[in-house]
Amino acid sequence: MGMTARDLMDTTFHTLLPQTLIAEAARTFMLASEEQKQRVFGMMVIDEQGRLVGMLSMYDILLLLRPKHIHIWGEMIDIDMGGLIDEACRQAKSILVGDIMTTDLITITADTHLQMILDIMIKKHIRRIPVLESGKVVGIVYISKVFYHLVQQLIE
């Protein structure tokens, strides 16, 4: 029996609610990074019944903060780019996690093999996969964990 998600997954993790404001979600990202002692770049979104309904990544937030017409401003060096970002942040204030989260999710179970996890991460370009048991989230596997586990074997 090889290594499975059960051996690799983190079972302590922060989650977000769909109705959480983006600014609040950003605070949770920072808090999670401090408590987990590693930078957290993506979080699971769980509804009030405990069901996984989405994922919010750093990319989703960056997409929201990217000024819409950046292709126009990007080439103008005399423009105050700081003001552009301030304006984007102001407009993002009423946006909720549920408005920008990704809902097209791939999940695994605790018994999913390492090779399968690696294959999913490469094929689907994803860095973290929720682990479900009977529909409930029991953990999350990060690509860094997979990488360092494999690198360790390579060294040995």
């Binding site: 000024p67 292709h71 401003w73 946006i95 408005d99 920008i100």
Partner: protein, 301 residues
């Protein structure tokens, strides 16, 4: 009416130079909730609806999403129930002039650009893309006033188009205590993208746009809620004697589609300037590069 447009800055430009290559699309069985989420997340005004082979079959715009909100459709409803189709296409090598003509004649705000595969969108062209292209030309021009810092002399302003020459001289306003249903009726009947919201004493209080309605729909706010609950403020506005170039800069800078126009005092709103209006002034923002500016009537942004 004969049109002489040899000095028009759009002359010779093709659709491929202004179009965006990323087309936001969803399958026809996706929910309205998903379409609203895409409109918010990707900051787009419309989503292309595709069939099994990614062929374009329809479009769901913020106007359609607002219509569904008004009609009380559950957000779980499939987008095919509200999409409008088929989408209108243009070719990458069409002139921007002809694309603008098609948009104006058909009363639409965007054209999809067909690529190598028939009926598949390789890009999309909308009014803000054209304004963006024009703005880049104007900004690089040696006569550009957008690069000036501090006060502008009358020499600097000579030849500049002013906001009042391009704006729509009518303003749709609702009371801050009007319901979202009432505001939606106003938006739909005037084909406006946003309305001014006034307090009971008449002063401007905020703005409610179709985007705000889509967000309210997504957040399941009842349509009986008051406009003040969802309005954005402050009101982005400019003076009627502001150069058009500066107004366009403000709009693009603030990611907004329109500016309210005031006379003498910000409380005295007298018109609206939209990116659509600006796109219609096909030669950019000053008279330096054209003797044949063409301003046409068409749908209001």
């Amino acid at each position: 009416m004969p049109v002489i447009d040899r000095k028009n800055v759009l002359s010779g430009l093709m659709v491929r130079e202004a179009m965006r290559k990323l087309v936001t699309h969803l399958p026809m069985d996706a929910s309205i909730e998903q379409a609203a989420r895409y409109a918010i997340k990707y900051k787009v005004n419309a989503i292309l609806i595709t069939g099994e082979k990614l062929e374009a079959i329809g479009v769901v715009s913020k106007t359609d999403l607002m219509g569904a909100y008004y009609a009380g459709l559950p957000v779980e409803t499939a987008v095919q129930a509200i999409m409008v189709g088929p989408p209108m296409f243009c070719q990458m090598d069409d002139s921007l002039e002809s694309a603008l003509d098609t948009m104006r004649n058909s009363g639409i705000h965007r054209l999809y650009v067909v690529g190598d595969t028939p009926n598949r969108a390789a890009g999309v062209l909308a009014y803000p893309d054209i304004v963006g292209l024009l703005y880049r030309y104007c900004h690089k021009c040696e006569k550009s006033i957008t690069r000036l810092r501090g006060t502008r002399s009358s020499d600097d302003l000579a030849g500049q188009l002013m906001v009042r020459e391009v704006m729509s001289p009518s303003v749709l306003a609702h009371g801050a205590d009007d319901t979202l249903l009432q505001v939606m009726e106003g938006l739909a009947s005037h084909r406006f993208g946003a309305v001014l919201i006034r307090e009971s004493h008449g002063l401007p209080a905020g703005v409610v746009s179709k985007t705000d309605m889509v967000i309210a729909y997504k957040h399941r706010i009842p349509t009986e809620a008051k406009a003040r609950e969802i309005m954005a403020h402050p009101v982005h506005a400019c003076e009627q004697d502001e150069p058009l170039a500066m107004a366009i800069q403000k709009m693009i800078f603030s990611d907004i589609h329109r500016l309210f126009v005031y006379k003498e005092h910000p409380h005295n709103i007298i018109g609206v300037l939209s990116l659509t209006d600006a796109a219609r002034v096909r030669s950019g923002s000053c008279r330096a590069c054209t003797s044949s500016r063409i301003i046409e009537d068409g749908p209001r942004g």
